[in-house]
Subunit: 196 residues, 2 copies
């Protein structure tokens, strides 16, 4: 019997070593936090509490077929690197931008989990008067924190000491995001604590 | 000789009647305004004047191939309806969202050129304290205007009288966007006039 991925593709060690596979693996690992956030922001939109959307994944379309009587079918396209964060919107009149990341690490959040241009983007968000932050989920302990860009970025820019945020720093300087029933994550309460 | 589209596809009356073809046709028609806006927001980002990005086109990915030693190739995907506007960002500390549309009409901007959920989104942007607007380009006269959501939405919601914004209303209630060399469009000057 051949070992297969959920997409039906046979297991192949070679594919595991490509950047795209690593990326996909990260995405799959991040599904729960991402889904919880997506449900949470939908709840906030419907309740009128905040207007936050997840941005579409950037895709470069190369070929499109237009079969008659049916919708256009994209037959060749590639994922592009995101140049901004995944989530953006408005809360209490202020612009808000954040990126959500999960990590398997029990002790820290590795900087390599976030793209340099995403860090640049969060820095610009703060410079323009918006709220920029990270939502970090630790898989092992199931803890989720909101970490403001103002805490994260200086550490990111000086990696001479360490190439990650220690979980202690995240616990001390970030704000713990509580789980709840509806919405699944109390994101706005954490933002209130930090910014209002 | 067969008449062909710029993408090499032969002309076929059937395809013209599908929603997707109409959409593509709009996009191609809108290329110049869109490109000018993209150049303009890039200029603003680099000059640190405003942080505005174009959102990626939402695409539903159905199938992906992972050829070894090369990046993932999407082999089946479809365009989705955008649920928000094309452009969003921060200017002078405020959240800004807008949609850019061109029209061939010499006398009006037809409401059918904008999706109902985009109108809903602009309404929410204003309700949450952001700046929501339309940038309307009239192809024939090469005039471009910024029209605030607060002007546009009441007319959109009451289409008993007419199903478009007359060019006179756009000229009177909107703000003319001047062309320039760098950036190609003076978008922020128009926003200053209306909102600051």
């Amino acid at each position: 019997m051949t070992l297969k991925y959920p997409n039906g593709k046979a297991y192949n060690k070679q594919t595991l070593t490509t950047a795209r596979s690593r990326h996909t693996s990260n995405k799959q690992r991040g599904m729960t936090l991402e889904e919880d956030i997506n449900t949470t922001i939908k709840y906030y939109r419907e309740a009128g509490r905040a207007l936050i959307h997840k941005k579409p994944v950037p895709i470069q379309v190369v070929n499109v077929n237009y079969p008659s009587r049916s919708r256009a079918k994209i037959t060749e396209a590639y994922f592009r690197q995101p140049s901004t964060t995944d989530y953006h919107g408005i809360y209490r009149g202020r612009s808000i931008d954040f990126e959500a990341k999960e990590t398997h690490s029990k002790t820290s959040f590795p900087f390599k989990n976030i793209h340099p241009h995403q860090v640049e983007h969060l820095k610009s968000v703060e410079a323009h008067g918006g709220i920029g932050c990270l939502i970090i989920g630790f898989d092992s302990s199931q803890e989720i924190y909101l970490v403001p860009a103002s805490i994260f970025i200086p550490k990111y820019e000086d990696q001479s000491q360490r190439k990650s945020l220690s979980i202690d720093l995240v616990r001390n300087e970030g704000v713990f995001i509580e789980r709840s029933y509806a919405p699944p994550l109390k994101v706005l309460e954490a933002i209130d604590t930090l910014y209002f």
